[in-house]
């Protein structure tokens, strides 16, 4: 479903992602772990077609992101880091705009919007202007646009960042539920989320995979603690 082969992304001489290969199948939720600057967001941006790869390839459901970007993008729902939104629109206006871009019309559009409003608990803010939303609602509005077209693949960049504990719980539950039928990759540096939502996790550091496996196997490798493994394998920005 997501097939990444020998992916390299360089900015100038610096490799943000260095020869990364992995694949995520349908029904899998891959947790993408790593310290700040490890290359998580860059990898996701290449997967979603926002950044072109320097080398290597990415395929979404067998479609090459480089060769057929529009077709690949139709398969993906993407929540970018920091959940960017058009501040001058209302939540409803924004979702309508996204639905139009995604090719929805008439009743199908209304149904798709109603569905994501319910899934992301946006009922109370539908008519509200986006610039007046709290961080939690902003995140959920952006998540809603990612779910509009019921995509086969979801790429979520720190989906729980800035949410309160209740909202975090809801989003994790949502990811687990959606993960049964979809292919999901989400990044986080909150290790407890791996246990809560992932079927598989990957730790990357300096653009390379340093550990991969089920949450249990990773915990065993870290002598019972994911945090211990994370600290052992990744470079601290402070130390660097």
């Amino acid at each position: 479903m997501i097939d990444v082969k020998n992916l390299t992304k360089q900015f100038g001489h610096k490799a943000a992602v260095d020869d990364l290969s992995f694949s995520v199948e349908k029904g899998e939720v891959l947790g993408f772990l790593g310290p700040n600057g490890a290359g998580k967001s860059t990898t996701m941006r290449v997967i979603t077609g926002f950044l072109p790869a320097t080398a290597g390839s990415v395929e979404i459901c067998g479609i090459s992101v480089k060769e057929h970007p529009e077709d690949a993008k139709r398969k993906i729902g993407y929540l970018p880091e920091s959940a960017p939104l058009y501040d001058d629109m209302t939540v409803m206006g924004f979702l309508k705009f996204c639905a139009n871009i995604r090719g929805f019309k008439g009743v199908a559009r209304t149904q798709a919007i109603d569905r994501v409003i319910e899934t992301c608990f946006l009922q109370t803010v539908v008519r509200q202007s986006i610039d007046t939303l709290s961080k939690g609602y902003r995140h959920r509005t952006c998540l809603a646009q990612a779910l509009l077209h019921d995509p086969e693949v979801l790429v979520l960049d720190e989906p729980t960042d800035g949410l309160d504990p209740n909202q975090k719980h809801e989003v994790r539950k949502l990811i687990s539920d959606l993960g049964k039928e979809k292919t999901i990759i989400f990044s986080t540096h909150i290790l407890e989320e791996v246990d809560a939502s992932c079927t598989r996790a990957m730790i990357i550091d300096q653009g390379k995979i340093v550990a991969e496996g089920s949450p249990e196997s990773l915990r065993q490798a870290g002598d019972g603690s994911l945090t211990a493994l994370f600290r052992k394998l990744t470079t601290s920005e402070v130390a660097a």
């Binding site: 941006r45 979603t48 077609g49 926002f50 950044l51 072109p52 529009e70 077709d71 993008k73 139709r74 993906i76 993407y78 970018p80 920091s82 960017p84 939104l85 058009y86 501040d87 001058d88 629109m89 206006g93 705009f97 996204c98 139009n100 871009i101 995604r102 090719g103 952006c142 646009q145």
Partner: protein, 249 residues
């Protein structure tokens, strides 16, 4: 086509939901009317002429050199500043559709703004009998000049996330596109008596928006000038498209 329409609609509605839009249109109308009716020695009413070429359209390129950039400054700068460029670029939209939709949005707002200046035409029509040919051609010229300035600003806005920098760069470019074809500047080169300078003057005139606009405001719709305006707009949008794509590389 559908994507262009969606982006166009968002652009227009986003413009009219912002209070800044109404302030800009108001300032534009005040500027056009004040210049037309109050400029010392060129007051339209006292001229007792119904021809708008020297009293109304004469100022349009200069006002539009400020208005076009102010209108279009947010176009892509805002997308970069808010990070929404990442959102829209990961939807099934081609970059050129995004750029063209945004241009059409700005162009429509310009069209609406120019409609409001019809008050001047109505005034003149009550007092005299203006020739409709130059009137239509003059408005077409204003639209094309304004469209060119919007396209220039969009190209600049692709390069920066700051609206202030975008305006500070775009207005001088637009003013320069007027100035190099302005009669006094052209006369300076033509009267210099130096062949190289005269040739340079002609080169400048061919880049400027002024010769085309002057012809339009006289009622002469020259297909070559029409082609000039459309190709400058197309070039700017093409540059914008290239900048947006290469920025991510």
């Amino acid at each position: 086509m559908k994507n262009i329409w969606s982006i166009f609609c968002r652009e227009v509605s986003s413009f009219f939901t912002s209070p800044l839009a109404y302030v800009l249109i108001f300032i534009f109308l005040v500027a056009v009317n004040a210049l037309t009716f109050l400029w010392p020695g060129r007051e339209l009413i006292e001229s007792e002429q119904a021809a708008l070429k020297d009293y109304f359209f004469f100022y349009h390129p200069w006002v539009l050199a400020f208005y076009g950039p102010l209108l279009a400054m947010r176009t892509l700068s805002d997308e970069h500043r808010q990070g929404t460029i990442e959102l829209i670029s990961t939807m099934p939209v081609r970059t050129i559709e995004l750029v063209f939709g945004k241009f059409l949005g700005g162009f429509t707002v310009l069209f609406v703004s120019l409609l409001f200046t019809l008050s001047v035409v109505i005034t003149v029509s009550i007092l005299g009998n203006p020739d409709p040919g130059p009137l239509f051609a003059g408005y077409l010229g204003s639209l094309l000049v304004g469209g060119t300035f919007i396209a220039v600003t969009i190209a600049v806005s692709a390069l920066t996330r700051s609206q202030v920098i975008c305006v500070a760069v775009s207005i001088p470019i637009c003013l320069l596109l007027c100035l190099i074809g302005f009669d006094p500047v052209q006369n300076f080169f033509a009267d210099s008596g130096v062949n190289v300078l005269a040739a340079f003057g002609e080169l400048l005139a061919s880049i400027s928006v002024m010769p085309g606009f002057t012809d339009f405001s006289k009622g002469l719709v020259d297909i070559r000038y029409l082609f000039y305006f459309l190709s400058v707009i197309a070039l700017c949008l093409f540059i914008t498209n290239t900048v947006l794509q290469s920025k991510r590389a």
